[in-house]
Symmetry: C4
Subunit: 231 residues, 4 copies
Amino acid sequence: MLEKLKQEVYQANLELPQRGLIKYTWGNVSGFDEATQLFVIKPSGVDYDEMSPDDMVVCNLNCEVVEGNLNPSSDMPTHAVLYKSFEGIGSVVHTHSPWATVWAQAGMDVPAMGTTHADTFYGAVPCARFLTAEEVNSNYEYETGKLIVETFEDKNIKPNEVPAVLLQGHAPFVWAKDCAHAVMNAVVLEEVCKMNLFSKQLNQEAPALPQEILDKHYERKHGKNAYYGQN
Amino acid sequence: MLEKLKQEVYQANLELPQRGLIKYTWGNVSGFDEATQLFVIKPSGVDYDEMSPDDMVVCNLNCEVVEGNLNPSSDMPTHAVLYKSFEGIGSVVHTHSPWATVWAQAGMDVPAMGTTHADTFYGAVPCARFLTAEEVNSNYEYETGKLIVETFEDKNIKPNEVPAVLLQGHAPFVWAKDCAHAVMNAVVLEEVCKMNLFSKQLNQEAPALPQEILDKHYERKHGKNAYYGQN
Amino acid sequence: MLEKLKQEVYQANLELPQRGLIKYTWGNVSGFDEATQLFVIKPSGVDYDEMSPDDMVVCNLNCEVVEGNLNPSSDMPTHAVLYKSFEGIGSVVHTHSPWATVWAQAGMDVPAMGTTHADTFYGAVPCARFLTAEEVNSNYEYETGKLIVETFEDKNIKPNEVPAVLLQGHAPFVWAKDCAHAVMNAVVLEEVCKMNLFSKQLNQEAPALPQEILDKHYERKHGKNAYYGQN
Amino acid sequence: MLEKLKQEVYQANLELPQRGLIKYTWGNVSGFDEATQLFVIKPSGVDYDEMSPDDMVVCNLNCEVVEGNLNPSSDMPTHAVLYKSFEGIGSVVHTHSPWATVWAQAGMDVPAMGTTHADTFYGAVPCARFLTAEEVNSNYEYETGKLIVETFEDKNIKPNEVPAVLLQGHAPFVWAKDCAHAVMNAVVLEEVCKMNLFSKQLNQEAPALPQEILDKHYERKHGKNAYYGQN
């Protein structure tokens, strides 16, 4: 079942090390099928060299395995919560990409300092708080998903406008309408985290991007009258 | 038309990711034909793997498409303004190369701190101010070009002696007599931005290059009595 | 003798430059055979291109060469002490990987600041003090091993829970149950050292990972009820 | 003439970009023939793809071209002065490798902070002062060589024990008994410059390597009783 999506998810997982986002098996990509309300995710801890599209695991939004002989990624419940809560997203990516993780470990939101950021994220990428001991010890990965949703609600951020989050002391989760775009958003986040860190070191007073430039760049790619690309 | 130039522009665009200046489609190179006063530019948002020389778009200095089935790069009007205003340049490159973008986000000129800089740029590479809300909301990409020209006039910098600019909160534009040299200048700028950042961190009092060494290195490559290379 | 282990040790040594942990011959991997109480180690200063599995040197825990025509790595006695003192380890890796060496030169323990760390190291990776002049001038490499053991005893750290150490002014030693995991642990240490450095620069108050998250991540991979992977 | 040396010099020049020390043609390697007192050097500004061993230029210690159809590297006179002044060296390498250039631009000696340094350089790598206007305007490249020699004399450093120098505002020159070792020393310098920068950032009080460890590591590779490697 869902053979085409399995192929997409498999390819997107391979893209993570190719794009320098992960080493070994430190990441996972899933893809969601709107029609069946099922999602396909990478198996846990399997070497990429030995992995095939058939090894992808199919799960439902109750965090149950529907098809597959292997254990799904241990982060599977986080993915499930995001698909259940964030309308319209078709793929979730988790990595420990180093520059984004640097910001996560610092416990800081990533401000919109430039147009590279504004082309993808309409405002700062939030950093969610540490999970509490209680959350950690009940159902860790599920609570992680809930915390992400809570963070977007509390800060009044629209997940389709800012498709990424950092988890304090952990690393990023990123999403998009499909796998290729979710991986791309993870690359953008990584690049922005690297550049913003050094811009702040170079000039402690470096300002955030003025609102009108943020609007302009986000809108020319994602707005109603977008004119970037061939559409 | 302009088949040879299309080939050059195509190749130079491919060189951007190969040299680590861009990821995905975050950059564009154009080339100018003096005889026809037309320029050739990359189409907007097309994957490099799927792009061919025939996909390049031909435009005139009034920002009109003269030939081509695809939309030109959304930054096309910036290129047009530069060709119209900066005499003798034959190619313009725009990237979001990370170290140059770090300086752009910091809103700082790149000082001439070493001979790597002086071999290409005869003095500091200026950082143009943020565009105003009015400029952003009228004809953003055209106004970007005008701001670059204004910056060089205000600071009394000769665009053929300092063939690059940073736009605050955005990224660099770079130029040269032809596509290969424009890409090379973009590489030099990127390298210099990386090195200068860390030289300043290592020694806050690190001085600019003395004028006579700046002169010497610039002149031995670009002066009347240049003796670098085989000419 | 020990042909299979020689092959593993050979492959693991080749992996060091492939994973960006070393340049030239600045590292060494050994593997221990529990049954014979012998270990196999890379020869000293031999180019990787010219090295074959048969060039690996077999040594005993008294630092004597048992088989092999080449000199063993000059760090061989350090490996011997670790195999003698740290029960259950099957491989030792030494590199001068740059980010770990940065921390070693700073003389600082690497704190557990994120889950990337906690997935492998159950707490801070200690930095052992400089060797004394007396230690340096008696039997340097052997004393290095003894100092590592002393460091773990003094700080009451279990070597199987924190399978790595930094030597002040020198570089890391890392270990694991087998060669592939020892190289992986060296990669984790390198990545963590890079990220922690910049997290601290971004936020001087960046906290260590809360104990419950450290426990959770370490236990889900290495604990009795581990559920990461396919076992 | 000197065909074997031309081949070595050619190969060593190709190694510079392969090892990440240079971009484009921003570096040069030469090799010295003791018997004839001639040296072979890369031509100036020729693309590496188009260069062959036959393009190497033969010069004498008076800075005259003895054989070759191309202009030698514009830095040729610096190489000549080093061969004339530093007894026993067989190769000189010049690069603008970024981390070494960072220190050169900062105008700072590179202290011996770790054993990676001590394995190659017996003490700090000195940074020579800016050339004076007079030196720049008389015979720049020749004066550069003289300044390097003066620096080693003034600081009482033996060029065979510390085979590298930084030129303030410029970049490193490195040497060794042959081309392969000169390139290796340039790689060591680059790595050490990167690591020391960040060690100092991590711990402003990070100490230099104690003298006895510096002695030990330098001597075990280069001393009378060296025991590193297979000799």
